[in-house]
């Protein structure tokens, strides 16, 4: 199994979630994060004191999937989150050894 971690633009979350549901992804965990990268932040000014805000609001989606599904999930996210503008985000894939569903104690793919 794999843990797919996608960092995307916040207002794309709804599209991505919908797209993933369509391909049968049952669940995901979402975190509000701040992103730092090529995309430039904005400036804030308070009574003349200037602050450059490098960190941009992003959303991180974590999805545990079977190895076989990874390709489709990546492809789906890429499509749904894509705007073509800098800052669209990244997808990371880590190995996932074990999954347990707290409610039932089920493990492995049954727990997804």
């Amino acid at each position: 199994m794999r843990l797919v971690i996608a960092v995307i633009k916040p207002y794309k979350l709804e599209d991505v979630r919908a797209a993933l549901s369509e391909i049968g992804v049952q669940g995901m965990t979402v975190t509000e994060v701040k992103g730092f990268g090529r995309q430039k932040g904005h400036t804030e000014l308070y009574r003349g004191a200037e602050y450059v805000v490098d960190f941009l609001p992003k959303v991180k989606i974590e999805i545990a999937v079977e190895a076989a599904q990874v390709e489709r999930v990546i492809e789906t996210i890429t499509r749904a989150a894509h705007t073509g503008k800098i800052g669209d985000g990244k997808i990371f894939v880590c190995p996932l050894e074990h999954v347990v569903r707290v409610r039932t104690g089920e493990t492995g793919k049954d727990a997804l």
């Binding site: 804030e44 009574r47 003349g48 004191a49």
Partner: protein, 429 residues
């Protein structure tokens, strides 16, 4: 009779006409307005100023600022009733030019039916108390986010007695400045220059906040600041129009020019920002409003609407540039810009009162005064306040530092004053 009683104060532009002094009679309408004004001015501090200031600091210190405003309100109130009022407005006998007496300590001789002019003296005590509260509360902006609570308390009480009370007496308690016919309707010297200078001195004595100016310290909640700003604007009607101490034409004109000052100040400050930084900001607009209000304050009972337009405009521009200068050039961490806004605005307004009382529909000068003479008197008042407030504040801070220490430790400052000093956090959302 009635007419005279109502209009004399108006014409002379200060509270108690000689006549009223001879035959004191309670005027229920004036009383109704002064009761309301007292509520409005307290409203300026709680929650007005507390929210205005609280929104400007970082989340970890928001409660410490609210607590400072609140504690000052409570402690000053008691000090006022016990002794300060008497020293400010009591009879100082031979030294009355400098300080009042103790004859009214503990509200002695003040009963349900005791009058001061046309209103109960209890109401006058309340009204003046709200001024004595907000002045040290304004100073909080100079040392926010780094001062010990205990030191802040001791300092504020000492400051009330040694700085506020004398100046208040000089200007409004028949002290030497009032005898010189200084024009300070609602506190350009007593409140704004006074608080502004004290805040600047405090900022210098305590030093910058850790990380200033490199680390960004953006306001943690500008919606809170805006809410406070709105309350300040509304409450200021009690501050200035209430200073007429009667419900008549003088109060009406004071309210109108006060409003004009606020609006013009906000517009001009925003305009400066728009030109200088390409975008007008909410914080800029409300700061300009406060600048306009602080500046019109001393003049509010003397000038006409057109004078107010000019005063407000000057205020917006002058305080904008003063803020840039103190922050960016001098790099002084007067954390909430009290000096740039209230100090500069208060001085400018006190000066303008002397000028615009004589032109553009101003109420004119006391007998024997000319614009020239008046301006000199105004400058004397400004100078005296600068020197006394600056010098004594510095001394008091040194004393308090010796006794309690002024500043929290670096670790405490990093963790934030709310948990360190008050065992609380502002938000658990």
């Amino acid at each position: 009779m009635t007419r005279r009683r109502l209009f004399i104060p108006v014409l002379l532009g200060f509270p108690f006409s000689a006549w009223a002094a001879d035959v004191p009679v309670l005027n229920a309408a004036d009383t109704a307005w002064m009761l309301t004004s007292s509520a409005l001015v307290l409203f300026m501090t709680l929650p007005g100023l507390a929210l205005f200031y609280g929104g400007l600091v970082r989340t970890k210190n928001v409660l410490s600022v609210l607590m400072q405003c609140f504690a000052i309100t409570a402690v000053v109130s008691i000090a006022w009733v016990v002794l300060a009022y008497s020293l400010a407005f009591g009879d100082g006998g031979n030294n009355n030019a400098w300080l009042g007496g103790v004859n009214k300590a503990l509200m002695a001789t003040i009963g349900v039916n005791t009058l001061k002019g046309t209103i109960p003296e209890t109401v006058f005590v309340m009204f003046q108390m709200t001024f004595a509260i907000i002045t040290p509360a304004l100073v909080v902006g100079g040392f926010a986010e780094r001062m010990k609570f205990s030191a802040m308390l001791l300092f504020s009480v000492l400051w009330l007695f040694v700085v506020y009370v004398p100046i208040c007496h000089w200007v409004w308690g028949n002290g030497w400045l009032q005898k010189m016919n200084i024009l300070d309707f609602a506190g350009g010297t007593v409140v704004h220059i006074n608080a502004g200078v004290a805040a600047l001195v405090a900022a210098l004595v305590l030093g910058q906040r850790r990380g200033f100016p490199q680390t960004p310290m953006p306001p943690h909640n500008l919606t809170m600041t805006m809410a406070g700003a709105g309350m300040l604007w509304v409450g200021w009607f009690g501050f200035n129009a209430g200073s007429a101490v009667s419900a008549g034409g003088s109060a009406g004109m004071a309210m109108l020019v006060t409003h004009i000052g606020a609006a013009t100040g906000a517009i001009v400050w925003s305009f400066c920002e728009w030109v200088r930084f390409k975008k007008p900001s909410v914080l800029g607009a409300v700061t300009g409003m406060v600048a306009g209000l602080g500046t019109i304050t001393p003049a509010s009972g003397y000038v006409g609407p057109m004078g107010a337009l000019i005063i407000g405009a000057l205020a917006g521009a002058a305080c904008f540039f003063a803020t840039q200068f103190v922050k960016r050039v001098l790099r002084i961490d007067d954390s909430l810009d009290v000096f740039s806004v209230h100090g500069v605005g208060g001085a400018l307004g006190t000066l303008c009162a002397g000028v615009f009382a004589g032109v553009l529909g101003g109420v004119g000068y006391a007998q024997g005064m000319t614009m020239g003479k008046q301006v000199w008197v105004q400058l004397a008042g400004i100078g005296a306040t600068l020197v006394w407030s600056g010098g004594v504040t510095w001394g008091l801070l040194k004393i308090v530092d010796a006794i309690l220490g002024l500043r929290v430790t670096a670790e405490q400052e990093t963790e934030g004053l709310d948990t360190v000093l008050h065992n609380e956090t502002g938000y658990n959302l």
